[in-house]
């Protein structure tokens, strides 16, 4: 009985979601409280597990048994190894903080509060399913369900057209990735003979490399969708239409990192030899391209959440690049520190947005440092971690990735260093414009410090943004078995990252000064316009692929269906039948003489046959 306690990670949020949605739509406060309590409870359970409270292997639930010997049967089991449980700490820890933050953030939206919290609980269930899954089919179940909860929460304010469209876009883009992921799962089943992680080990050696490449790249497609990598990155910036706490939890800290987690899980269970060179180069390149493009686009965003969204894309690109460089431990380390400081940045942005009366444009803020010092201080903690100032968590994890890149493939090292400079530039820009100088709009001028339900999670995350990179906590908590956080060492990576840090800060200071400007001096030229228009990638998708090929293609097929199948074949057949009937009807002309004639001829023929073919008669 007691060994089944990890099932609570899944069942508790699922049951709470159902209760919230069905029973408490009339009393949203109860629903909110229930959800928050369940998140805190799973966090406590997770901490207990990490402190060595192991109870044995949880039971496996076979939901689709088969009778035939050797036939695949589908089951659900839980993996409670260090990788999974430490990832669970990120999920439940940030999850609990976001629940608490939401209590304050969503106060004004009481009518739909129960749906919102039910959505969060479904998310907690689905994310835990991905993390604890012991086979790829179960991962896929969680995979689809996080997509669904993301759809639900992005479209929380579904009466807004932009939110409804963004939710739809997120779901469908993810489905495109899942198309590849599913092929990958099926190939894994055929190639490895199993989809259970524990049974995959050591089987890669005897398989043709080209087949491994196909399998791994197909599985990677899933990560491209879920972790918003180029070319399927387009949904993530739009997903910012959702409530800000949702962006922090789902679209920054946990769900979008699921792709990275899945890849690392595969690397651990299949063994790194399953990741062939071609597959690795593909994965690392996709990550690097995403990191660069997203960092460029982030430089010219005016919406505070969009800046952070592109920054998330860019950081995810970093992690995927590290996975491609076979540095899974560095990827997970960065995932882990990034989760805390990016959640902090988003929640900080959320607090700022609420306090500025739902103003998201940084050019309408300004001078916030004086008005809401604590929030801004927390936000700065997150920024320092993100731009990798030595001593903050992000510094250590970024160093780890740069180290790995330099050892494996120096090209990716220099790309990483360049992205670091861009990151520093856009984050410094954001802070200078929003926090320094004078308020540019009345919303920002009336800003006040946020309430305690919002400030407490911020402070907690602020502490984590600093300390989560240090050995004493990272060695214990980084979600990778046997990993030791890179100590600080002088060397090329350190000098280069210090150089890019200095470069970014100085450039941003030169361009934006101390927040005195009211418009972006870089705006207006064609490069800036291209970056603001997201390098026209979305436009190509909307106008070309969706509006063009898909829409017109569907219209043409519809037309062909109507004209060819319904028109020519079916109607043609009917017409032929009718004509044939007309032809026969000519015989039935009602003339007695005609009938008599035909009957007479018939009798003659009949007699003729009788007389000549049956002579014995």
């Amino acid at each position: 009985m007691i060994q089944n306690l990890p099932w609570l990670f899944l069942l508790l949020p699922l049951v709470v979601a159902a209760i919230d949605w069905l029973c408490f739509s009339k009393c949203p406060r109860t629903a909110a409280g229930l959800s928050t309590l369940s998140a805190i409870a799973t966090f406590a359970l997770c901490v207990a597990y990490l402190n060595g409270w192991q109870t044995g292997t949880p039971d496996i639930y076979t939901w689709l048994p088969t009778a035939t010997e050797g036939m695949t049967s589908l089951s659900m089991g839980l993996v409670t190894d260090a990788l999974a449980m430490r990832m669970m700490l990120v999920v439940t820890g940030i999850g609990a903080l976001v629940h608490i933050f939401s209590l304050g953030y969503m106060k004004g939206d009481s009518s739909n509060l129960s749906r919102y919290f039910a959505g969060l609980s479904i998310f907690m269930f689905s994310m835990s399913t991905i993390v604890l899954a012991d086979n790829l089919a179960m991962t896929f179940i969680g995979w689809e369900m996080v997509g669904f909860s993301s759809y639900l929460l992005i479209g929380h304010w579904f009466h807004k057209d932009s939110a409804a469209d963004a939710a739809k876009k997120a779901f469908i883009t993810n489905r495109v990735g899942d198309f590849g992921f599913l092929i990958g799962i099926l190939l894994t089943l055929a190639v490895f003979g199993t989809i259970t992680f524990a049974e995959m080990g050591g089987k890669a050696a005897g398989i043709a490399p080209a087949l491994l490449t196909a399998t791994v790249i197909c599985l990677f497609c899933g990560a491209v969708g879920k972790s918003a990598q180029f070319p399927l990155h387009v949904w993530l910036p739009d997903a910012m239409e959702g409530p800000t706490p949702v962006s922090a939890l789902i679209h920054a800290a946990t769900m979008v990192a699921a792709g990275v987690y899945m890849l690392v899980r595969l690397q651990v269970s299949m063994g790194t030899e399953a990741f062939t060179e071609t597959a690795c180069i593909t994965i690392a390149s996709v990550g690097a391209i995403t990191a660069v493009l997203a960092a460029l686009m982030a430089m010219q965003q005016d919406d505070i959440k969009r800046v952070l969204a592109y920054s998330t894309l860019s950081q995810l690109g970093y992690m995927v690049m590290a996975v491609g460089l076979l540095a899974g431990e560095a990827a997970m380390f960065h995932l882990y520190t990034h989760a805390w400081f990016k959640a902090l940045l988003f929640l900080g942005a959320g607090a700022i947005i609420v306090c500025c009366h739902h103003e998201q444009d940084i050019w309408k803020m300004g001078g916030l440092a004086k008005l809401m010092p604590l929030t801004v201080l927390c936000f700065l903690m997150g920024t320092f971690a993100l731009i990798a100032i030595p001593g903050f968590s992000g510094f250590f994890s970024k160093e780890a990735i740069l180290h790995a890149a330099l050892e494996t493939c120096p090209v990716f090292f220099w790309i990483g260093a360049g992205v670091a400079a861009l990151t520093t530039f856009y984050m410094t820009r954001l802070c200078l414009v929003a926090f320094c100088g004078q308020a540019r709009d009345h919303g920002a001028a009336e800003a006040k410090e946020a309430g305690p339900t919002m400030l407490l999670p911020l402070l907690a995350l602020g502490v984590m943004a600093i300390i989560s990179g240090y050995g004493f906590i990272a060695d214990f908590l980084v979600p990778y078995t046997g990993f030791e956080a890179h100590g600080f060492e002088l060397g090329l990576p350190f000098y280069v990252s210090m150089g890019s840090l200095a470069l970014g800060i100085i450039a941003a200071l030169l361009v934006y000064g101390c927040g005195k400007r009211t418009t972006d001096p870089l705006a207006g030229n064609c490069l800036s316009t291209a970056l603001r228009k997201r390098l026209y990638i979305d436009t190509i998708y909307d106008k070309g692929l969706i509006g063009g090929i898909q829409e017109y293609g569907a219209q043409i097929i519809e037309f062909a269906d109507a004209a060819l199948i319904r028109g020519v074949i079916v109607q043609g057949f009917a017409w032929l039948t009718a004509k044939f009937g007309m032809l026969l009807s000519w015989i039935q002309n009602g003339s007695l003489r005609g009938y008599a004639l035909v009957a007479g001829i018939g009798i003659v023929i009949f007699v003729f046959i009788l007389a000549f073919t049956i002579p014995t008669l």
Binding site: L64, I141, E144, H159, R175, L186, A190, A554, I557, A574
Partner: protein, 496 residues
């Protein structure tokens, strides 16, 4: 005993027709009785086969009738039939008292025919029951349909009538060549080596006949207009239950033939693979370009049949040893029946609220009627295969079944495009290659279903949705009933 599943609705229909008892009330009583009896029969046949053997099932007044529930798929189908019948009758909203009587009689006869066909062991009665069920469909479209009901009704009548003739020819030929007139005898004869000789002809007749009834591409064009036109309970019963007759027939014959089914159907398996891709991709894109909800749902139902045909192809290719394909097909048939019935039911309610089904003239209904939005969202998500809802286990099992028994060879690059793609993934066989293309259907179905949901329920309210009034509990009772089973079968797929 099983005979009561057929007698109760017939008696109820006779009461309504001859003694003029209240239509809906009588029908509900009958549907409740068949629901209880059906569920009980299915459960006891599954979990306690020794409680009531075949003689007790089929005994009736001293004589033995050829009804049985020993095939796994017939249990699933009977379960589906009684569930959907109950929901269809519970959710029925006829325009007036007379219409209510004829709607009830039609719904009852339709479900009688379906249940009779799914329980029949005798092949002629299997065929005849289905014909019986088709009649009310035609009549109801002709008298109470929407739009150009006469043309649509006649098209469906002639189309399905022809298909039935082709099917009958195939069945008679098959029976004659195996010298068996019931599934049980046929199985015994096949085991003894009495197999048909003109297999390709028989298989072609059966595939065209059954295929047309299930709207296999390119014999699908009757389906969407007929569903869009038919009154809600008839659309629910036909799309949800009766349409599965063709697939049930194919699977049952393959099951009966066992390993010999490859010889029977194998001749056309590759053709079938191409045709079912027509269902999934061609009809999928036709569905995307629909502008009316009812047409979209009708086409989506045609599209999803492709996956069940895929399972059939995998089952045939494996010589009836692919248990997963059989299981996945059963689960998906059950799930699809429940979901499409629920979608048609909600479609009827949306129309009665907004008096339109044009997607472009709706919007924001979710803010006005959150319960309807929730139920439609649930059914829509189920139909696009969201885990924890009924369709997912079926679909996923079918996907896996296609790769069952296939061992990858060394990847190689062949001359043609298909060969190259197949070579890439380690020399895929025809079934596996088809599956890869068929998986794109997951994206297609997400596009049209989310688009419809977006246009109807999200965004700002417009004129048509402004006048929506609050729904009562009675209005959503039938949909809630179906929703419960969709969730239940999603979490615990029935192991029948």
């Amino acid at each position: 005993m099983l005979i009561w599943l057929i007698l109760i609705p017939v008696i109820a229909a006779a009461l309504i027709g001859l003694l003029r008892t209240p239509g809906r009330a009588t029908a509900i009583v009958s549907a409740t009785l068949t629901l209880i009896l059906g569920v009980w029969a299915v459960l006891s046949a599954t979990f306690c086969p020794e409680c009531c053997d075949s003689s007790c099932w089929s005994a009736f007044g001293g004589s033995t009738l050829q009804f049985r529930l020993d095939l796994p798929m017939s249990r699933i189908m009977v379960l589906l039939s009684v569930l959907v019948t109950f929901a269809a009758i519970l959710g029925m909203k006829a325009p007036n008292k007379d219409a209510e009587r004829s709607w009830s009689i039609s719904a009852l006869l339709l479900s009688t025919g379906a249940i009779g066909a799914f329980m029949s062991d005798n092949i002629i009665s299997f065929y005849a029951f289905h014909e019986l069920a088709l009649i009310p469909t035609f009549v109801m479209i002709g008298f109470y349909g929407r739009g150009d009901r006469r043309t649509i009704g006649w098209t469906a009548t002639i189309y399905l009538g022809l298909a039935s003739m082709v099917l009958l020819a195939g069945l008679l030929l098959l029976c004659a060549e195996t010298s068996a007139w019931s599934f049980t005898d046929m199985a015994a004869n096949v085991r003894e080596g009495i197999v048909p000789t003109s297999t390709c002809l028989i298989a072609a007749l059966l595939l065209v006949g059954f295929g047309t009834l299930v709207s296999l591409f390119p014999f699908h064009s009757w389906a969407a207009p007929a569903y869009a036109s038919a009154p809600t309970p008839i659309a629910m019963l036909h799309a949800g239950v009766l349409k599965k007759f063709g697939l049930y027939g194919l699977f049952t014959l393959a099951y009966v033939f066992g390993p010999a089914c490859t010889d029977l159907f194998g001749c056309w398996n590759n053709v079938l693979l191409v045709l079912l891709l027509g269902n999934i991709l061609w009809v999928g894109y036709v569905t995307i370009s629909q502008t009316r909800l009812d047409n979209m749902l009708g086409n989506s139902s045609v599209m999803h049949m492709g996956y069940i045909f895929l399972a059939f192809a995998a089952y045939v290719a494996s010589g009836a040893s692919n248990e997963l394909a059989f299981k996945g097909a059963s689960l998906l048939m059950l799930a699809h029946g429940l979901t499409i019935a629920m979608l048609f039911l909600l479609c009827g309610q949306i129309e009665s609220q907004t008096r339109t089904l044009e997607l472009d003239s709706m919007g924001g209904l979710g803010s006005k009627l959150p319960a309807l939005g929730f139920l439609f969202g649930l059914a829509g998500m189920a139909s696009i295969g969201l885990p924890l809802l009924a369709n997912f286990p079926g679909e996923f099992t079918i996907f896996i079944s296609c790769f069952e028994g296939w061992t990858p060879g060394a990847p190689q690059v062949d001359g043609c495009i298909l060969g190259t793609i197949a070579g890439w993934f380690g020399n895929l066989g025809p079934v596996q290659l088809t599956l890869i293309f068929a998986l794109w259907g997951l994206v297609i179905s997400a596009i049209y279903m989310l688009r419809a949901f977006r246009r109807i329920f999200e965004g700002n309210t417009v004129l048509a949705t402004e006048r929506a009034t609050r729904l009562s509990c009675a209005d959503i009772a039938a949909a809630t009933f179906l929703a419960l089973f969709i969730v239940l079968f999603g979490i615990i797929p029935p192991a029948l």
